[in-house]
Symmetry: C2
């Protein structure tokens, strides 16, 4: 039996983003200013972000209306389809019901345009002409290139150097949409020059690339900075996913027992689970399980410290209370470039600390084994990031086979792997490596955590 | 204004393929047996194809029911979306209305699975265990790998050597779905060995790869051959596209004045236009224009001879009455690998000869210029093949700007270009070449046309 589709009509697409802040049982720890030791104010952030997004970052409103122009863009590919994975279920011989919400049908091939489009829109509304950002494997950079193309903004992307050279296709996609993309660390910023002076062969990291993009934006009047994950407003934009999925699970006739997604900065999975988490907080679905999946080689939630840290390598951002491996940590070069980040969205860390969600770390080889099973049943060649979530979905479905329980599992499928085929080849030819947890490097990185007031 | 969607409900997906044969004003010339000089019989084809497909090839029935299992697979991504290209129209400042039917949302990223799934199904039904096929850039090979994965068939793909090395990603996709893929010419067949003995550095061609795949299938009892274009049954399977598009154009409220598509073997575009062509043959839409677009460097319809020729390089196939540049012709290495074929679907050649459709040849640089315009307006990075059609759509829309006519133009958008980003880079960096029409090579190839009775 083939996968079946649950297709939401355009008119049923949500017209509001969901903001978890007012529903949290304990308030989110504030973002701190590293200089003053006080919570940051909207004005502190104004050099980097448009005021509309800053207001969203701290908003007490539960629902925030999606502007008409952003809705119109969303509707050019949304609502996305929810699938029932009949063939995967059969291959696993499991009584579990597996559903996946597929974000790979967006023009950029992932969930990232949901926020890229919104961020480009608000910047254009406030007269900004140019944006900067960082990207790892290029999912975010290409999505923001798409958003900037739509709203007529210039874009410069600092792309982690190892990915810039190993994965040229997403860079070319950015250029096809009109963006400029350079390898990071670069000679274009103080942050980049400092790293290169220390290590001319630096492969780069997301933390370094963020430093470069932030510096570029902070030092030019016509330029703002755009972040593809981590911050509250980014997660909020992604809640379009979870709100659609809730309606589609109603069409399917089942409420999920387990929701699974991969987390790098956390926006894709939070976008899926936050609208469901509300039901758990409200007490209507106390048994709902939410599993965040991360790489064993970059295990932010499962092995990091919960502490204030910088979002970038150079220490230019405000301080975020989050699970962190240390802002100086450079993760091993796993193919899931989108999961190679030292920190994690404060909202996810907060609800994890409160025991509302779980976390699990998986090894790279096991994720590609799962991805191959998914491709050979459901037909979708998934992104290496997504394969992390697929691994845990399969593991949970196999537990159901043991226990005989017909649980309903919902997978947040963040995107396709068309630009990651070299990773599949590496796996298929037996060349793919697993990476040990780099305990020593994490210890070293955590030793340089900033000294700040803890909330 | 963003592109708007016309989404057909699953229950409105056509359940029959449309067969143009009974509606042709003049019968299609028969397929001839090169040995006997007589029309081929179903038994002649039985070593290569399942009887169900052979019967479809010659069927006098106007509508052929799509088997339930094939419909179920189709529904896993179909009906595909029809879009109105508002942003492209605005960028061109044209009064024309531009619509495109997008086949890039299939698991393999093109229209090819429409027939791959059907062919795999019928072969499985008749107990075949293994298929062989050829592929150029890999759109067809990856689609058949997907189809064979669904129905549990082994697959060996002979991939044109120049593409095998230059475009590894579609090969890896085939392997991810479980197929075996080797470069052609290979040492695995007499056809391949013969070519290599003559020219060890041969870059291969679709004609050579077909010879290898046919020989492999003809010499093994458990194996059939599968062709991704050209033949009547293949075009028929693709009519799901045009039938859906007709319903969607009704939703949009306009009947097309001009339909445009790219042609290599011709199945994608014939699948789109045949259901509309019926209206023209019936006299209901006498002014409908249908434009087949081909590469200037491989101008089969516009410069080829209309004559009986082999479908493959070695002369192992039956003889088809078609426009041909000669079965020994090796086209220049344009990026649109799917359009590098010496022949053309006999049905298309026939209706072209009857004056029912038009043909136009365009240069490679102009197609990428058009593709970039499309990417920077509609957001889709298109396959190099599709860019040929986009070029002509833009040209026709610009003519409307001159004349002030609000014509309705329908584009058959055959797929995305995610595996062709190197071609975009080549264009963006000014390295992409145009190829002259290789007149001498065509003259030489045409001199070796087979001597056979002409119908």
């Amino acid at each position: 039996m083939e996968r079946t589709k649950f297709v939401l009509d355009e008119k049923d697409m949500p017209t509001f983003w969901y903001n978890i802040l007012p529903d949290l049982p304990v308030p989110l720890p504030p973002v701190m200013h590293p200089g003053t030791g006080q919570p940051v104010t909207p004005n502190d952030l104004a050099p980097l972000f448009p005021m509309a997004l800053i207001m969203q970052e701290f908003s007490p409103e539960r629902y925030i209306e999606i502007p008409d122009e952003v809705q119109a863009v969303y509707r050019s590919w949304r609502p996305t389809t929810l699938f029932r994975a009949h063939r995967l279920e059969k291959a696993l011989d499991t009584p579990a019901r597996i559903y996946y919400k597929y974000e790979g049908s967006s023009p950029a091939g992932s969930h990232k345009p949901n926020t890229a489009v919104a961020q480009a829109y608000y910047n254009r509304q406030e007269g900004v002409k140019r944006l900067t950002t960082e990207t790892g494997a290029g999912q975010w950079g290409s999505s923001l290139a798409f958003g900037c193309m739509l709203f007529g903004l210039e874009l410069k992307v600092y792309m982690v150097k190892v990915s810039y050279h190993q994965k040229p296709y997403r860079r070319i996609m950015m250029e096809t949409w009109g963006a400029k993309c350079i390898p990071s660390p670069s000679l274009d910023t103080n942050a980049g020059r400092t790293v290169l002076a220390r290590d001319p062969e630096s492969p780069g990291s997301l933390g370094i690339a963020i430093s470069e993009a932030v510096e570029d934006a902070a030092t030019r009047d016509d330029t703002h900075y755009s972040l593809g994950s981590v911050l509250n407003h980014v997660l909020m934009h992604q809640t379009i996913i979870g709100q659609e999925a809730k309606k589609q699970m109603e069409m399917a006739g089942f409420y999920p027992d387990i929701i699974v997604g991969c987390v790098g900065g956390g926006s894709n999975f939070a976008g899926m689970f936050l609208p469901f988490l509300k039901d758990k907080i409200d007490g209507r679905k106390p048994d709902l399980r939410i599993i965040n999946v991360e790489p064993a080689s970059c295990p932010t939630l499962t092995k990091g410290l919960y502490a204030y840290d910088f979002g970038d390598e150079a220490g230019m951002t405000p301080l975020l209370k989050m699970h962190t491996l240390g802002h100086k940590f450079i993760p091993p070069p796993v193919h899931a470039g989108g999961l190679r980040y030292h920190g994690m969205a404060p909202i996810i860390c907060h609800v994890y600390k409160l025991g509302l969600v779980e976390a699990r770390a998986v090894g790279q080889l096991a994720t590609f084994e799962a991805g191959l099973t998914f491709a050979r049943t459901e037909g979708i060649v998934s992104a290496p990031e997504t394969n992390h979530a697929i691994r845990v979905v399969i593991d949970e479905a196999l537990k159901c086979r043991e226990s005989g329980e017909a649980k309903t599992i919902l997978l947040a499928h963040s995107g396709h792997g068309h630009f990651d085929m070299a990773a599949y080849e590496s796996y298929l030819t037996g060349k793919l490596a697993d990476y040990e947890y780099p305990e020593d490097r994490v210890r070293e990185a955590l030793a340089s955590l900033p000294q700040v007031p803890t909330a």
